[in-house]
């Protein structure tokens, strides 16, 4: 039984990601955060195994939050899930040790995310 933290400022986005992941892993425990700052706090409190992270949110950028989280929790697998699909962002994602998956959230894109989470074993 794993714990997953879903980070996105859009409530709808969080709902959609949660629904898709739950369909494959109904037994997982779900946490949500609406900003980078909230995500960092949630990691300390809840210690998730996995995390999906949006980039453009109010406050800090998702990629910056991910970088911080990985510094103190290098074992967490983070997938940057974003509409901001340009090379600069994709490169940044890989350089900090995360993968980049383009939105929209679909069965296909969620599969890529879940495969990444599973491959860590």
């Amino acid at each position: 039984m794993k714990k997953i933290l879903i980070v996105d400022d859009s409530k709808v986005s969080r709902m959609v990601i949660r629904a898709h992941v739950k369909a494959v892993h109904p037994d997982w425990e779900f946490f949500e955060a609406a900003s980078g700052e909230e995500a960092i706090k949630s990691v300390v409190e809840n210690k998730p195994d996995f995390c999906t992270m949006d980039i453009n949110m109010p406050g800090m950028l998702g990629t910056d939050a991910a970088e911080q989280i990985l510094q103190t929790n290098p074992h967490i697998r983070i997938a940057i899930f974003s509409a901001n699909v340009q090379d600069t962002m994709q490169n940044r994602a890989t350089s900090i040790g995360t993968i980049f998956v383009a939105k929209p959230v679909t069965e296909k894109s969620i599969t890529i995310v879940l495969n990444y989470f599973a491959s860590g074993k």
Binding site: S10, N84, K103
Partner: protein, 203 residues
């Protein structure tokens, strides 16, 4: 009920942000620089309630790109930038070496393409996420005064609803703001709500 809830608007916001991401990537390919494009807000209004202050538009003249849609959904989209911003954007897209004369010559074409890129990206996101396939016309570009635009919007009895999107565009270091307006008929609004409900219902 003919109204969009918070959740509906949030879902639309997501759709348009996916569109913005795609448009930014296309623009980035053309310009060769990072392009940041986002849709910070989506509102629904009645056409008769739109007035200058509600859109925060101070300028006299606007560059407007216009595309009409048909099919399951009937709407018109107008992408608006102040003329000043339009010229700046064109200059950024074409490279800052360009002369002012050439800029004016190319404004029409370049803005058409910009509008086409942004609108198509939004539409493809709507098609992918909300399952609303659309036929649309080629874009046309004109320079209009605030009065002309508002008259166009508020006088249209066939399309009494307006989906108003605020757009933030940054190319190189220059930041511009624009607006994207979708004029919708009552039927189109109903269809949109149905599709949004479906999208939300599936989660």
């Amino acid at each position: 009920m003919n109204s969009l809830t918070e959740l509906h608007l949030d879902a639309l916001s997501e759709v348009f942000n996916v569109g913005a991401g795609r448009a930014a990537a296309s623009l980035s390919d053309i310009v060769g620089e990072e392009v940041r494009l986002s849709v910070p807000s989506v509102e629904i209004r009645k056409s008769s309630e739109i007035d200058v202050s509600s859109m925060g538009l101070q300028s006299e003249r606007f560059g407007a790109v216009h595309q009409t849609f048909s099919g399951s959904f009937e709407a018109e989209a107008i992408l608006l930038f102040t003329e000043e911003h339009a010229l700046e954007i064109v200059r950024d897209m074409m490279g800052s070496q360009i002369s002012l004369e050439d800029l004016a010559e190319f404004e029409q074409e370049a803005m058409c393409e910009l509008g086409n890129i942004i609108l198509n990206a939004c539409l493809s996101a709507m098609a992918d996420m909300l399952n609303i396939p659309l036929n649309c016309s080629l874009p046309d570009y004109s320079v209009a005064t605030t009065e002309e635009i508002f008259r166009r919007v508020s006088d249209d009895l066939e399309q009494p609803y307006v989906l108003l999107l605020h757009i933030d565009l940054a190319i190189e270091r220059r930041h511009s703001e624009g607006h994207l307006i979708f004029l919708l008929s009552s039927t189109s609004l109903k269809d949109l709500i149905i599709q949004l409900e479906r999208f939300l219902g599936a989660v």
